[in-house]
């Protein structure tokens, strides 16, 4: 296994990526039934002991780890140990998967039918599959797919079944359990269920982590979970959750296994099934409780065209290589390993860094469709739209730029650009309209308000925002490609001078400010800055001397595009700041924050003083709040049952001004952040 880190910045154009195969093609040409009943004999981990699977629950219940915690709880609470042990047993019962081949075969059959109806193709990189097959035999494997849709884990299992690989065991949120029948079906296909929050529950935590570790130690099956914790509603990668990653790395730290292979998997959908559902959710239409009927209301969905899916199995990452020189395993020498302990700071830090680089590895291999570029362009030209020719021309330009930046772009080069553009537009016809040769977002009415035109209702506004947010979810797929150069472009824009140091300060400020919004590895500011400089320099957009950095004339277009890409976010954070300074009362609670800020933004948009509908996204609002909390500009204060937000107006104000370029990124501010 390669010892190199999953992400390293070199010339991104030189990245080598595998070719894809369409697995639906064979399904269209041969019997699904025969496929579902095929002989399935996957290769297994060399260390796997026969009958291990049937012993899983007993092993967990009899583990030293669990016994220790049960005894401890019994001493603390006075409840008899066997009562607590019973409780543990119930937790395990609620959690455990019951994978059985017949259910898998059932899914293989029905999913074949559904996938063929929904998607044009499902592309998989077969070399990745081969690497995975190799990895499975050598070490316990953890599969880490990106999470954009409910489909994800069924799709994963479907692919592994297709390639005769051991089916994974998947950590799923308890909310699925609400869907009676489906929940059980999923369980029988290999899902196990964990409660969303069990922070303080030691017993739950122990059963859960022992369950996962036992599967891993014995190499029974790959363990699959979502680093991002939940589906990303915005198509941006989410800040990784560390709990499960910690658990799967632990057996390596403790020497219980020689190594663990982490395999990042990037699943890219040309059209997301939940597209408008997510947009509504972000706009505050409450999330429908996951129910069986809800999922199948999606019957209508079956008649639509959702384009293709690309699934890229990344290079397996060896935890051992990652941890080399970063984690001192001797840490565990002086205590029995079954006694639970908080991970050391060193370990925490390592797990966090690894999580970020794994999410970046996912991002890197996300396949971008031409539509993603079109959505980015159309969002930047919302008021006027673009002439079809203009759009095509700009898309071709952007295609070049994104490739320079290392995007994994799936642009059919054998087709004429105009054809590519029109076929993309037709797949997403719900989101665009073409009138008089002009392409615009399908906002209904006359499009976004001009300051002078007649007012619209809030309901109209929300309907338009659904379209805009759906569109941004496509643009967001490309954000990781442009993010670092865009931060630099914006930094140059707000910096008071062209001095490199000054620009770096602004860059660092923006990066810090937005690090809840995007995947920016902690502590990698300089590295990101250098990468951004390299990319902008390479495309000739930036000229750098020892001291200064200047945007070239020819680079103006690039820089404008990049700045415009980040602008909604900078505006959004400023609006949040403004709200907190001007409107928020002392009694503002955490719960009230989102509705209140939403009302505030709606008011500004209706008044014509704000043009970005995407600021209505609760995701952005939450991220801004999290950033301000992290920076100490807001503090949470617990009053009775409520958490109120205490605003440091001075600081919030100065952050707002700095974001707007009105205030230089003073070193003082930068230092304090």
């Amino acid at each position: 296994m390669a010892a190199k880190p999953p992400y390293s910045h070199r010339d991104p154009m030189l990245k080598k990526r595998d070719d894809f195969e369409d697995i639906l093609e064979e399904r269209r040409n041969s019997s699904d039934l025969r496929y579902a009943l095929k002989c399935y004999t996957p290769v297994v981990y060399k260390g796997v002991t026969p009958n291990a699977a049937s012993l899983l629950k007993t092993t967990v219940l009899q583990s030293d780890q669990l016994h220790y915690v049960v005894d401890q709880l019994s001493k603390e609470t006075g409840v008899a140990a066997d009562v607590i042990q019973e409780e543990a047993s119930a937790i395990l019962e609620e959690m455990a998967h019951r994978q059985q081949l017949s259910t898998v075969r059932f899914f293989a059959f029905t999913l074949s039918k559904a996938f063929k109806a929904l998607f044009r193709s499902i592309h998989v990189n077969e070399e990745g599959i081969q690497r995975l097959q190799q990895a499975i035999q050598e070490h316990p494997v953890v599969l880490l797919p990106s999470h954009r849709s409910y489909m994800d884990f069924l799709l994963m299992s479907y692919i592994l079944y297709t390639y005769d690989l051991v089916l994974p065991v998947i950590a799923a949120g308890m909310d699925f359990m609400g869907m009676k029948f489906v929940g059980e079906m999923l369980r029988m296909s290999g899902a196990f269920f964990i409660r969303r929050s069990f922070g303080g529950d030691k017993l739950y935590w122990t059963v859960f982590s022992e369950y996962v570790k036992t599967m891993l130690r014995n190499g029974m099956a790959p363990v699959e979970f979502f680093l991002e914790g939940t589906r990303s509603r915005t198509s941006k990668s989410l800040t990784p959750k560390l709990g499960l990653l910690n658990i799967v790395m632990d057996p390596f730290f403790k020497g219980e296994v020689f190594d663990v292979s982490l395999v990042p998997v990037s699943i890219s959908y040309e059209r997301i099934l939940e597209e408008t559902l997510y947009a509504r959710e972000l706009l505050g239409v409450p999330k429908p409780k996951e129910s069986t009927s809800g999922l199948f209301k999606a019957r209508k969905v079956l008649s639509e065209d959702y384009g293709s899916i690309h699934v890229y199995f990344g290079q397996p990452v060896s935890v051992r290589s990652l941890a080399q020189g970063k984690v001192n395993r001797c840490h565990f020498n002086l205590m029995p390993r079954h006694i639970p302990r908080r991970p050391s700071d060193e370990t925490q830090c390592f797990v966090n860094d690894s999580a970020y680089s794994l999410v970046r590895a996912q991002e890197e291999n996300m396949v971008l469709k031409p539509w993603v570029l079109l959505a980015s362009l159309l969002l930047q030209n919302q008021s006027q739209g673009l002439l079809l020719d203009e759009l095509t021309e700009q898309a071709v330009w952007l295609r070049g730029l994104s490739r320079e930046y290392g995007a994994f772009l799936n642009w059919p080069d054998h087709m004429a650009p105009s054809e590519v553009v029109s076929s993309s537009l037709s797949l997403h016809r719900d989101l665009v309209k073409i009138s008089g040769g002009r392409v615009q977002l399908a906002l209904g009415g006359q499009g976004p308000r001009q300051p002078c035109s007649s007012p619209i209702t809030e309901e109209e506004l929300m309907n338009q925002a659904v379209v805009v947010l759906s569109c941004t979810s496509y643009r967001n797929q490309a954000l990781h490609v442009f993010l670092r150069p865009a931060l630099l472009a914006s930094a140059i824009h707000i910096a008071t001078s062209a001095k490199k140091e000054e620009v770096y300060n602004s860059f660092s400020f923006l990066r810090n400010m937005l690090s809840n919004e995007f995947i920016l590895c902690p502590g990698a500011t300089l590295q990101d800055f250098e990468e951004a400089c390299y990319l902008l320099g390479k495309t000739g957009a930036l000229q750098m001397s020892q001291q200064e950095m200047q945007v070239t004339d020819s680079g103006q277009k690039t820089v404008n595009f990049l700045t415009a890409m980040l602008d909604p976010f900078l505006q959004g954070y400023q609006v949040v700041c403004r709200y907190l300074c001007e409107e928020a009362t002392e009694a503002l609670t955490e719960k009230q924050f989102i509705p209140a800020i939403r009302t505030f933004i709606v008011r500004l948009i209706l008044a014509g003083s704000l043009r970005y509908y995407e600021l209505l996204s609760s995701d952005l609002q939450k991220n801004a709040l999290a950033a301000l909390l992290r920076l100490g500009a807001i503090r949470k204060i617990k009053v009775a049952d409520n958490v109120t937000l205490k605003v440091n107006r001075l600081m919030v104000n100065s952050l707002e001004d700095t974001l707007g370029g009105k205030l230089p990124t003073q070193k003082a501010v930068a230092a304090r952040l």
Binding site: K254, G255, F258, N328, R329, C330, N333, P336, R337
Partner: protein
Amino acid sequence: AGPTEIMKWNGWGYSDSRFLFNKKGQAEFTGKRYRLSGMILPSLKDWFEGTFGASLQHKSPATVSAIYIYFFNAVQPPTLNEAFVEDLKSVGIPFSHDAEDRVFRAHGHCLHEIFALREGKVGRVPDLVVWPNCHNDVVKIVELACKHSVCLIPYGGGTSVSSALECPPEETRSIVSLDTSQMNRILWIDEKNLTAHVEAGIIGQDLERLLNENGYCTGHEPDSMEFSSLGGWVATRASGMKKNIYGNIEDLVVHIKMVTPRGVIEKSCLGPRMSTGPDIHHFIMGSEGTLGVVTEVTMKIRPMPEYQKYGSVVFPNFEQGVACLREVARQRCAPASIRLMDNEQFQFGHALKPQVSSIFTSFLDGLKKFYITKFKGFDPHHLCVATLLFEGNREKVLQHEKQVYDIAAKFGGLAAGEDNGQRGYMLTFVIAYLRDLGMDYYVIGESFETSVPWDRVLDICRNVKERIIRECKERGVQFPPLSTCRVTQTYDAGACVYFYFAFNYRGLSDPVHVYERVEHAAREEILANGGSLSHHHGVGKLRKEWMRETLSNVGMGMLKSVKDYVDPNNIFGNRNLL
């Protein structure tokens, strides 16, 4: 001075005993000293070629004969401290600066040391060898060394595997090897207290033989006992195979006399245990020649055992075997020796079976194999063997044996006969010869050991073996290495684990460097898995780099301050340990 003719100068053990492949391509072991001597080992060739990808066609014999080194000035001329030599003459202590004598005492038996010798490469060697005859001679030598500022390196049996005997290349003073081999007498035996007072230069097998003549034994049997010395055991904290009955060296020693630059250190009485502050014996044991020369030792002796019985048990897999050893330790009923070989070593042991004399024996072997693999369903690629040695009075031995076999049965173990057990222990003594055979055919290897808590035994075995395989691959070794282990000692709280590792180095430009990097990685892996830096080989210079993390800063400081007090001018300048 004796041993240089009987012993190999660039390999292990006696000159007359070695493995070779005869003209028919069959392996045989020469000489008359061992049970295996003069025997043909029909399956060794296939095992050897199969395991290492080696071939009898590809030979890598030692490139120089002894003559080349000694007479063509490959060895640098000695840097003599004339005043010291003069004074030495005047007190009448024998010495030599012959190249042969000096080279012989310039190394232990680490792979890199032997490899270099075979290639005729000799680094810094002692400038002079002295042979004190008794404690007082040593006192004189140490006084003279202090007076004339020469560096002393004590030399016992020369079986070190920690680079402890290597002369520090940066040493500018004259280096004198202090060979204790002439101090080899048993001074008295006290039958009332069951102790013997012995000069520290005595070699293990001589000590045992002489005591046996009186009906006693020490029971201390390290694998190197044919060649290693009592003083060396004390200086390295040695451990013997039968420690379960007799104890390790620290349990056996009652009194130690050591000559240091500050004078002689010893306790005032022979009390069996004392509460007089930290035990000063523990500054001496494991000091690896950095503080002085151990000259005389009073140690416990025991009446010779009335009855000895070997035994062996086959387990379906290594996990079961370890679980059994753990249970035996828990019940504190370990026989004199109990060792568990993993599957690779079991196969290796098989390859060393001599030609069977009769069809009947081979038929019996076949039956046994059939019973174990077919009838009992043991997978020949997973099964492993424990060898046992019981000692004591006959009745108790038989009772003890039953107890151990009953425990073994609970872990799926099947008794596999005395013969297998006995051969297992015999192999201990010949295995070191086998490395020389390997080196004739591009195969190099070594063993190293650790001690580890019980709950980590399986993990450390798996991880270290795997690490070795992986490191070899990453460092360009063209053939899969032999990476195997065995559990050789049991304790209440853990076990001693031995790793053997060897590989075919054809195609590598610097095999020793590769070897050293792999061993280094393996040691890191051991430490990361909760194993100790060493169970009984010691630290020497080979493992010095890990001492600080092993002992903590304060611990290092304590040892340093002892060294600074006892030997402020670093007369005992072998630079081991610290």
